[in-house]
Symmetry: C2
Subunit: 110 residues, 2 copies
């Protein structure tokens, strides 16, 4: 299990929407994952048992979550997604998101 990792060394996975997904670091009950999106990408509404907290490293997007109005996010903004809560994004410009999950996304490690 890596204690410190470097995205420069990692080959990304490509999501069904065409985003690049890199698992950066993980351990115990925490995992950090970087997503890179091109403008125009939409990540459809989805949910998972993991809690998620995200940070906009760069870019501009609408963040969608069930029970909430869409919110326009930009560099430096953040969001929290409770367990089993539907959420998605609409990307307006080249965007990098840093998402932390708890517990680990084992589906990202296989």
């Amino acid at each position: 299990m890596p204690l410190i990792s470097y995205i420069q060394d990692l080959e990304p996975a490509i999501t069904p929407e065409g985003a690049e997904r890199r698992v950066l670091a993980f351990g115990g009950s925490l995992m950090a994952v970087e997503f890179r999106f091109e403008a125009g990408v939409k990540a459809p509404m989805h949910k998972h048992p993991h809690e998620q907290i995200g940070y906009v490293v760069e870019g501009e997007l609408d963040f969608l979550m069930e029970g909430k109005d869409p919110v326009r996010l930009k560099k430096g903004d953040s969001y929290y997604v409770p367990s089993e809560t539907m959420h998605g994004v609409i990307i307006y410009s080249k965007t990098t998101l840093l998402d932390c999950f708890s517990p680990l996304r084992q589906d990202f490690l296989s």
Copy 2:
């Protein structure tokens, strides 16, 4: 409890080392905290029961952790700190770190 928060609206706390600390978002067992450091700051070795995972939004630093050699980190690098593990930083240029903690840092909310 905010589901989505905006750092633009938040007054930072100032740490003993002079870093700006902003709690960005939290819920359940996750919290995202942004730290901004000026060049030359050193955060002394410390530990806490919370697991921590961090991401270098910008800047350059040495990341120190007990049992590991110091590692030079820069934009896009990340690190994982197990519970109760001593760690610290030496900042070389103006740096922004995004740290996620589990469970919540209640000491950052008081």
